[in-house]
Amino acid sequence: MTDDAGPVVACRGLSVGFGQTPVLVDIDLAVERGTIVALLGGSGCGKSTLLRALTGLQPPLAGEVRLLGDDLYALDADGRRGLLRRTGMAFQQDALFGSMSVLDNVAMPVRELTRLPEIVIREMARIKLALVGLAGFEHRSPNSLSGGQRKRAALARASILDPEVVFCDEPSAGLDPVVAAGIDDTLKRFRDALGVTIVIVTHELESIRAIADRAIMLGGGRVIAAGTVAELEQSDDQDVYNFFHRIAASPAGPASSPLDRMTHARTP
């Protein structure tokens, strides 16, 4: 077993990219056990790419990812799979299997990865579904659920084997505030009652303030700020300030309106 003291998720000098163009450069971060950490940043800043790198889906160009103390990308395929079984991932597009019922979706990892009797497996799935507020939806098809219900079912599936870390990509994006708050509550229960470490990618200021213990802000492929949410809100950094105060970024140069550029282009 891993020592409980060290960070649950850590990366050092991590660079991730597609082909030779890096999306993330030289990322250092550490996530302590039993905390909720939010990854913030504008669209396209590489939050989801970082999450993919942390969950073994996107091999890095350089640097290392340590998950529960082990170097994720130094392990062989079996070792990596074994390590990833101790983590859970809830995807942005819930990624539920459309051909299975909700209960079967949630029970699937237990069926595949353990030898528990069927009755216990079904009970586990039922308890997890009740925990995310989906009691009574066991035999529905995922296609008949609403967006929020699908996200919660995905959360139940990601957490069914009591992972030590759960990664969530935009768990409450596009949901109404009440449903989003419900998802926040569920994540908080996972942390408080089960001691789960949670890494979420999110845009929702409400939910960051409500649940995140720490926040890490990305911009331009780098970490531009990290700390408690309160610290970040007080930050002097322009981008961080803009993010927390919902200020739109100004266009590149002050004196170059589109019309100016057009007219300049015409007269050499």
């Binding site: 019922s101 009970e123 009740a130 009574g136 939806f137 296609n143 009652a193 089960l194």
Partner: protein
């Protein structure tokens, strides 16, 4: 180490299940066995689960506790816990308080066989109705296109034609030649026996032009193009791209189906024509080598026997086959529902139904040709 051991106290009719160590995936099955054993005992009135020496507790342990409580309730036994630590209490608090009643009408229960047969029949009628609507819509859009009131997306027809046609030239050509050689050998076996080897050319020419050219091309294109159309449209349905088109007020029929159908309409006869000639060439080689039938004699007989009418017969059929392939692919692709399995089902159905109707039409055409 066992996950739990049970102490029975006959005086108070109480069973105490003492948990030992972690109750996790590895060990919870044992605990379940113990609880079931206790539940079956008649003399016991009360069951206490003692957490004094319990370690970590995970979801499977929690599930076993919930199942245990239910077992005892069913057996009329009292169920209680003792020596809970703070973490254990927090974990047990996660259990749902009451059994939630399922929302009414929620289950997607497939039902008994009567229901399934009924659903199948209804689905068949719905599908027939949708197919009719599809054909009407295609005809309407094609008419608007012919009247130059609407136009196809730029470059799409050429793109589709090259994907469906140019990319299939290799396989259709190769199989055409092989089919021609097979026919040549058949002719050899059958006709040489009667000293009628020279008629091999008639047989190969007529069969390739009237039957095998169009038929073989159609079967290849069903698997190649029909399945691709169904899979592409099905995936677009799953990713709501078809809904996006509808929301933009753009007819999917004109934007997606018509370019595919039109491309097939001229690609299919062209490929069939190529298959006919390559098949004849294959037959010519075989008869020249194996029967010493000079190619110029062979060719002269082809010209004498195979008429323009035979070509018209073959090419007309190939156009009908093109529409069968295109329409089945479009129909099953558009009928896809939201999940991945239904895309697979759509491609399967396209191939099976497509080949079925191609052979049906071919048989009907042969029968009609013989009667007239």
């Amino acid at each position: 180490m066992p996950a739990a051991f049970t102490e029975l106290d006959p005086r108070t009719r109480t069973a105490t299940v003492r948990l030992q160590g972690d109750i996790v995936v590895r060990t919870s099955q044992q605990l379940y066995g113990q609880l079931r054993g206790v539940a079956r005992r008649r003399g016991i009135r009360k069951v206490i689960v003692d957490f004094a020496e319990a370690g970590r507790f995970d979801s499977s342990g929690l599930a076993v506790m919930a199942l245990g409580a239910r077992l005892m309730a069913r057996g009329g036994k009292a169920f209680d816990v003792a020596h809970l630590s703070e973490t254990h209490r927090a974990a047990l608090d996660l259990l749902p308080q009451t059994e939630a009643a399922a929302p009414a009408g929620a289950d997607d229960d497939p039902g008994g066989w009567v229901q399934r047969v009924g659903a199948g029949v209804l689905d068949y009628y719905a599908a027939a109705g949708e197919f009719r609507a599809l054909v009407i819509d295609v005809a309407r859009e094609a008419a608007l296109l012919a009247a130059r009131r609407k136009r196809l997306p730029a470059g799409e027809l050429l793109h589709q034609a090259s994907v469906m046609g140019v990319d299939a030239i290799g396989i259709v050509g190769l199989l055409g030649v092989l089919l021609g050689t097979t026919l040549g050998f058949q002719a050899l076996v059958l006709l040489e026996r009667f000293g009628a080897g020279v008629f091999a050319a008639d047989m190969i020419g007529l069969s390739m032009v009237r039957e095998f050219g169009p038929m073989m091309t159609a079967i290849i294109l069903t698997g190649r193009t029909g399945a691709a159309i169904a899979a592409e449209l099905g995936t677009m349905r799953v990713r709501s791209e078809l809904d996006a088109l509808a929301a933009m007020g753009i007819s999917p029929t004109r934007f997606l189906l018509l370019p595919r159908l039109l491309a097939l309409t001229w690609v299919q006869p062209a490929l069939s024509l190529m298959a006919m000639f390559l098949g004849i060439a294959g037959g010519m080689v075989v008869t020249a080598v194996a029967m010493h039938l000079p190619p110029d004699v062979f060719w002269a007989r082809i010209i004498e026997r195979v008429t323009i009418g035979d070509f018209v017969h073959g090419i007309t059929k190939s156009v009908i086959f093109a529409w069968i392939i295109g329409l089945t692919g479009c129909h099953f692709g558009m009928r896809t529902t939201g999940d991945a399995a239904s895309v697979g089902q759509a491609t399967t159905r396209t191939v099976v139904v497509g080949v079925f109707f191609i052979i049906l039409v071919d048989a009907a055409a042969a029968t009609l040709g013989a009667l007239l």
